[in-house]
Amino acid sequence: MLNQSVQSIIIFTICVILLMIVFCTFIVTIIYRYQQKQNTYFKEITELKVNHENALLKAQLEMQEFTFQNISREIHDNIGQKLALVKLYLNTVPSSKMNTPIMQVTDSAIIISEVINDLSDIARSMSSEIILNNGLVKGVEFEVAQLRKSGIYEIDLAINGNPVFFDSKKELIVFRIIQESLHNIMKHAEASNIHICLHYNATQLCLTIKDNGKGFVRDVKNEGSGLINIRRRTSLLEGDFSISSDKEGTRLNITIPINQNENA
């Protein structure tokens, strides 16, 4: 009798344990599969978000380029022409008819000539034609030459490796990154030396911009709009961005993958 009841208790316990195991397995499987599905779903959402942000950024950049082109064209075709006309008038005014001394007129013509040249440089810097026609390296060389003209900075430009033409839109974005960096240095760094290095290898372009300015304390949450622009442009090119700064200056490193198939 005792044996029978012990046997019954054992059977009961086994049944309960089996039941619990089966059910626990079922619940764990449901939760596991659901979380797998959830992870895939969130991954897709994140991808969509990134794609959407990239598309927005692309549209913004295109609009910006369009505005640059318009301003550049306006400077070249309208303001430049008008200034040239003023210069021509000043040069052709007979000296006998003038009330003002001849020296001032000559100086005005010289200043206008300089303004025309400066505006022409600005127009060329804003225009994307130099990149589209001559490529990134020529564009950077032009930008460096412009900066050297100011006489404030000693600029060292190094092109290493075998420069390749990649997608002109991408080259234009890299060019705008360099322009933005140089603009930041001029605005904030109080530097005297700038070093720019474009290093090409088979799969990527490494861009380094270094200055000997006062540096800055990084605040990732309150980054300036210039740095944000550089970061966003780099992410659009699926590149890596890093910046380091101390009292001896700032160093910006950007690595951009080059797709061999799209090389022109």
Binding site: M20, I31, Y34, Q38, Y41
Partner: protein, 188 residues
Amino acid sequence: MDKFYWYSVIAGATVIFGFLYGYFNIINKLLYRFIDSSLLLFHFSFLSLFIYKVLPNGNISKYIKILFPLFLLVILSCLYSSGLSRPPSSAFAFTNFGLVLFCCFYYLQLFEEMPTINLLKEPSFWIISGIFFCMCATIPISSIGDYLHKNTSRQLYLLVGGIGSFAYGVMHLFFIKAYLCSINQSKV
């Protein structure tokens, strides 16, 4: 979820009621049978309605809308056929089978819609898992309940009934977990 605690309250009252009847025999037998059958109908209707409310409007909830009255009809006919005797095990079996089916609908729906909820913190998931566990465990018991009652020893019958009671207890543990989740949710 707001009104779900009524199920636990009534379940608790049923246990007390059964205890009073079993040990003190202070309640009229006929009244006891009537209440027993009513409680079975309440149990099926309440839990089915809960599952139906949890599911969003769609094809799956439509199936519940169609199947619920059918099951109810079958259960009622089982109860009616047994007359004034205790509710037949077939009525319990159909109740459990119906609820298992509705729980399966819930799980199907879970994987059909966008997976945005955290299952571990979702009260309805714990409630339905509890129902599913209890009903799955008691389907075989309730299916052969009458047979066991008539043809086997009282000891075996009580033993098998014990598994059912154990499953019922576990179901209420799941409900407690669901209450805790809902308290946390309302705090957030």
